[in-house]
Symmetry: C2
Subunit: 219 residues, 2 copies
Amino acid sequence: MHDVRKIDVMESIYDENDHIAAHIREDLTERGIFAVNVMGAPGIGKTTVIRGIIAELRGLKPYVIEGDIESDIDARALRALGVSAFQINTFGACHLDAPLVHNAVGNMSFDSKGVLFIENIGNLVCPAEFTVGEHALILICSVTEGSDKPYKYPLAFEKADLILMNKVDLKPYTDFDEEFFMKGLRALNKDAALIEVSGKTGEGFAAAAAWIAERAKAI
Amino acid sequence: MHDVRKIDVMESIYDENDHIAAHIREDLTERGIFAVNVMGAPGIGKTTVIRGIIAELRGLKPYVIEGDIESDIDARALRALGVSAFQINTFGACHLDAPLVHNAVGNMSFDSKGVLFIENIGNLVCPAEFTVGEHALILICSVTEGSDKPYKYPLAFEKADLILMNKVDLKPYTDFDEEFFMKGLRALNKDAALIEVSGKTGEGFAAAAAWIAERAKAI
């Protein structure tokens, strides 16, 4: 493989991405918009969790950028609830990057202070390498995924500010090993908060919304 | 972003990958080894399913290549069961490619006819773009992922020869919509077989092993 050429291109892409991400963050901060990058594996419940948090986000207006490879199922579901949702389709690309989010932000209207949820492509690997201008990185996991995920996808866990453990309603039916999970997580990341949530019962969304609201006030 | 440069490099990578993959397939066919590329999201149960199938693979020797970003948890678990497992760590890369698998195959000894399971990185996006010399592509899904996955990750579903729907023991506790899933799947792929399996109860592994054994005989 053309390793040297690949590395050259990648380094230039990362530099350019970080530069644009810093610009997005500055722009959103000025407008009073707190941005969260929402990452997680396919089917982990990213849209469901965003919806649950939005319902508890009192006094802060929600905005959403939906990253999907091809479909707009999630953006349509959010719009049906009256949420302002902008669709990015990557047509094959495995992560959002700052240029894509920059275009989206430029096409959205932020008429009052609030929270911008940037739902990344369902993928635990590549999105972790690209900041998209967020103030906080939220990683969604689930008890049905198994407890070895921090060991296998370390970068995502290392970078997360908040971890939401979803589908806890299914915990009685799985053999999720909490101690092993926490050991792996804390070896990578001493500070990330962890909140258990359930898209089914609504558990934990008020706490997750409070975590976001506290930080949104501080920007 | 440097789109033209990126596309140049990617096209050259795909061509080289396909060339090496064809070489791997030919080499393995000559040695009587049927190779399956096992894809699926993080935590979907790839290693558990491989282990379940191996237990039912009568008369065919199992070999495994374990693709992981950093850990060797799965390879160690397989070796503990007496299975010959070769570890590939990609250190950040989000998929296996043919050059990585070529190196692995060159370092393994295939002393009798059998089946080589190539467990890809947990990712529904990037691995679908790279053939690794397999005879068949097995995609693992689960009822806990939600039923919209074919709509959101079309390439993986389009390319699959066999779909294993895992964690069916949890079906009573989820709102998995089988009809919606099948409609999305069949719009992309009319021919792929679908077998329900459960790592917990062992359901379906004999049928999956029979599917593989039938095709392994035909190479």
